[in-house]
Symmetry: C2
Subunit: 110 residues, 2 copies
DNA sequence: TTGTTATATTGCAATATTACGATTAATAAT
DNA sequence: ATTATTAATCGTAATATTGCAATATAACAA
């Protein structure tokens, strides 16, 4: 199939999976790290910074933008991409709740 | 391609991506949540709990096991799967560092 | 041994993802 | 107007992922 059966899971489970999927490629991890480091960025920088072709970077940026984690403002011929901090905070809450399931948990069972 | 160019990224970036990828499917999210809830589990439970066929669950369990996040002990005809808490803690550190990049950051740039 | 139960593995079809060359669109500079 | 620059989009090849039926394996029960 290649198609996840999202209908049988909760919205929350699907949302966690969607966020995680966005971080599931090192290029997108690197893009986000760079955006945090620079705190303002144009796409050309990213093509130089990360060693992938321009259309590939553009595609990764699109995915992050669709999720709402980054936003882009057109500035002349270039586009200024940056983190959407509000959205990042929201995502973090969801992911932290998932990651912190282990607190209040005893030792391994087996 | 369909093949990520891992060579051009740092080990850390690749590791974040690997962990995230594991959480990038709602079935694996649901499996982990269930294991935390029950704190001891046999696979049959999971097939009932989650609405996927037995081979599919088995495959998802294998991926989580390969990453080290869960471990399975054979008990008679069934297998007792549970969270590997030590491994989970290690994963959490890595992911938290990534997710918390936003602290010590100013407002949006654009 | 024969059957039963529980899980893993294999094989495969459907779909998704990754990457990039070629092209396009939009603005800026001359 | 022409040309350069930047980034998005299109098309496509290679590979990965998801899901399941069929089958295999392993442990136990009778």
């Amino acid at each position: 199939m290649g198609l996840a059966k999202t209908e049988i899971f909760t919205d929350r489970q699907n949302q966690i999976a969607l966020f995680a999927k966005a971080f599931g490629h090192p290029a997108r991890v690197a893009i986000l790290q760079h955006l945090f480091k620079i705190n303002a960025c144009i796409c050309g920088d990213l093509v130089d910074e990360i060693g992938l072709a321009q259309p590939t970077i553009s595609q990764h940026l699109k995915e992050l933008k669709q999720l709402g984690l980054i936003k882009g403002n057109v500035e002349g011929t270039s586009v200024c991409y940056c983190i959407d901090n509000e959205s990042w905070t929201g995502m973090k809450e969801t992911m932290l709740e998932f990651l912190n399931q282990d607190i209040s948990k005893k030792e391994d069972c087996c």
